[in-house]
């Protein structure tokens, strides 16, 4: 499973992101619960991270000196699992075990059976601090490795996030990168209705972070943002990625009800796959689960 990963063209990354969307939807369908909205908004970012920035192979996990990624918004783990499987870090057939008893893939990320999961998360706000600790650990040990954490926008309402933001700036952790999946929705409604976040970029700037605002579905923009982060020498970086919750599945886009935890009907899955370029015939393998038996669906 250790595929050497080389630089990929934009079209290739977009293709993999589309595959990850299809797989995430099928996983949530087979699990009969899960969070599609925040998985779909995160997938383009995760794809660029795994295929271009982290470039991890299974062999990397036996050594603590490896670049790190923590999914702080743990409920989006279907997307993380799908991208990891496409990157060769997880046997594809494990994907049909999501949320099932005696299987590896927990409903929220858990350290253990899946080496690429670097932190147990699911309680919002903690993963960001854990990632900060990894960056502090690298600094303490004189390692110059990057650490990335992905947060939800609603997650930013947790006080612990701002404790972390303060600490990272205090210690000038320039190899620490927060990626905010700014899809404007959280569990029940829009951020602006629940607890307003704006002016968000100003908040991070005032905490001493380098801020980069991008379209989180624009692959070249994502690539460029990570390049800018790599060149940062003084401050931690936050990439505020403007995204659409449910991205790629029209009927889910920007609709709070698809946050989760939802059960997808056969028709829900067929319609969602159609939006991701899979016709009715092709959808059969996703409905049956046969797709998880393919090495590279």
């Amino acid at each position: 499973m250790d595929l050497p990963q080389t630089e990929l063209a934009v079209a290739d990354l977009e293709k993999r992101a589309l595959q990850a969307r299809r797989l995430s939807l099928a996983m949530i369908y087979h699990a009969a619960s899960g969070h599609p909205g925040g998985s779909l908004s995160a997938i383009d970012l995760l794809t660029v991270l795994y295929f271009q920035e982290l470039k991890l192979t299974n062999a990397a996990f036996s050594n603590w000196k490896r670049p790190r990624f923590v999914l702080s918004k743990g409920h989006a783990c279907p997307a993380h699992y799908a991208v990891a499987a496409l990157a060769g870090l997880l046997p594809m057939r494990e994907l049909n075990g999501l949320r099932k008893i005696n299987r590896a893939l927990q409903g929220h990320p858990h350290v253990g059976a899946t080496p690429f999961v670097e932190a147990s998360t699911g309680s919002l706000g903690q993963g960001f601090s854990i990632a900060l600790g990894m960056a502090m650990g690298f600094r303490h040990r004189g390692e110059n490795l990057p650490v990335y954490a992905m947060l939800g926008d609603g997650e930013l309402q947790e006080g612990q996030v701002w404790e972390t933001a303060m600490c990272a700036a205090h210690y000038r952790l320039n190899r620490f990168c927060a990626v905010i999946d700014y899809n404007k929705l959280q569990s029940d409604a829009r951020n602006s209705e629940i607890m307003a976040l704006e002016p968000l970029a100003d908040k991070w700037r005032s905490f001493g972070w380098a801020v980069n605002e991008i379209n989180g579905h624009d692959v070249p923009a994502i690539q460029q943002a990570f390049k800018t982060f790599a060149a940062e020498t003084e401050r931690p970086t936050v990439i505020i990625a403007h995204t659409v919750k449910g991205k790629g599945v029209g009927y889910m886009e920007d609709v709070p009800a698809w946050h989760g935890s939802v059960r997808l009907s056969d028709d829900n899955l067929i319609d969602a796959l159609a939006a991701c370029g899979v016709d009715r015939q092709g959808a059969a393998a996703y409905l049956s689960g046969a797709v998880f038996e393919e090495a590279q669906p």
């Binding site: 350290v111 147990s120 903690q126 990894m134 650990g137 612990q160 600490c167």
Partner: protein, 319 residues
């Protein structure tokens, strides 16, 4: 630069001072560990370590949730991480201990000073009577409450030899000395400090010295008390307690903690699970404390040798 060996237990050291000095003593033999502090190094004893090993000491500010989760992250870089704060402020981050540390089995050692009524004049907001119960309930956590400065030193080294999450209580007041020399310390093993045949007194932390004093008083009334120092609350040493109870048939537990869920809970679980016997509990009876000097609070809330003696008499009447 190696620090000179620290004098531990001299001139009325508290358990927290003993902890801070132990870190200094262990620093060269265990070169990887680091210490995190939430702006209370003067109170937890870690100021000793900060002075000698500033590059291994990280100030986290008054932000305990971040400190605990961050420790879990640092521990993934092949280093044991000590999180140090007051017991009550560690409770701010219990959910972080649960998820970031314990669920992921990270090598994080939470060492908390200022347990129980021992905190004294700061009052109930700073007195922690719940920590042993709460941390005991988290799967995979080791929970320790040593009784004497030299035992703190031994427990601190035992923690470093153990790869996994630990919670340990130190203490604020000058500690009563129990051991002449550093005692052996094994996680999961408790020790009989005094043998007896009529009643078992089992205690932890500062109450172990009170239990020994109570045993002296009981001896004068021809009651032979066995005293167990339960420094390891979890894993709990069932064999040690049950062997004692097989002989004595009656138990008194004593702790500077709520009588719910801490040592009394561990003892009750152990007895009910294998060696039923009457139990009387000494501790704070499900109430908050208040301001006052520790000795005054001990009198008012019944954390004294006299309270242990009275409990022993009650439990003997139930035999």
């Amino acid at each position: 630069m190696n620090a000179t060996p620290q004098l531990i237990g001299s001139s009325g050291d508290s358990l927290r001072e003993a902890f801070g000095k132990s870190l200094v003593d262990l620093a060269t033999r265990y070169p990887d560990f680091v210490v995190l502090d939430g702006d209370v190094a003067g109170g937890t004893g870690t100021h000793h370590f900060r002075k000698h090993y500033p590059a291994r000491f990280y100030q986290c500010g008054i932000a305990e949730q971040n400190m605990v989760s961050m420790a879990a992250g640092m521990a993934t870089c092949a280093m044991p991480v000590f999180v140090t704060t007051f017991a009550v402020f560690s409770l701010r981050a219990v959910e972080q201990v649960r998820l970031s540390v314990a669920y992921a089995r990270r090598n994080v050692k939470i060492v908390a000073s200022h347990p129980g009524l021992d905190v004294g004049p700061d009052g109930a907001s700073a007195q922690c009577l719940e920590d042993l119960a709460i941390y005991r309930a988290i799967p995979g956590m080791v929970v320790l409450s040593p009784a004497d400065p030299l035992e703190v030193a031994a427990a601190t080294e035992a923690m470093l030899r153990y790869d996994g999450p630990v919670y340990m209580r130190s203490g604020r007041s000058p500690a009563q000395r129990i051991f002449e020399t550093t005692p052996p310390f094994e996680i999961g093993k408790n020790r009989v400090l005094r043998t007896g045949s009529d009643v078992t007194l089992i205690a932890c932390g500062k109450m172990t010295a009170q239990a020994l004093a109570a045993a002296d008083t009981l001896a004068k009334a021809s009651i032979s008390a066995e005293v167990i120092n339960a420094a390891s609350l979890k894993p709990f040493d069932h064999a040690c307690l049950r062997t004692s109870v097989a002989k004595t048939g009656a138990v008194v537990s004593a702790e500077d903690h709520n009588v719910i869920g801490g040592l009394a809970g561990a003892v009750a679980e152990s007895l009910a699970g294998g060696q039923p016997a009457p139990l009387e509990t000494v501790g704070v009876r499900d109430t908050f404390g208040e301001s006052g000097e520790p000795d005054q609070l001990n009198q008012k809330y019944g954390l004294t040798p006299a309270a242990i003696v009275a409990a022993a008499e009650r439990v003997l009447a139930r035999k």
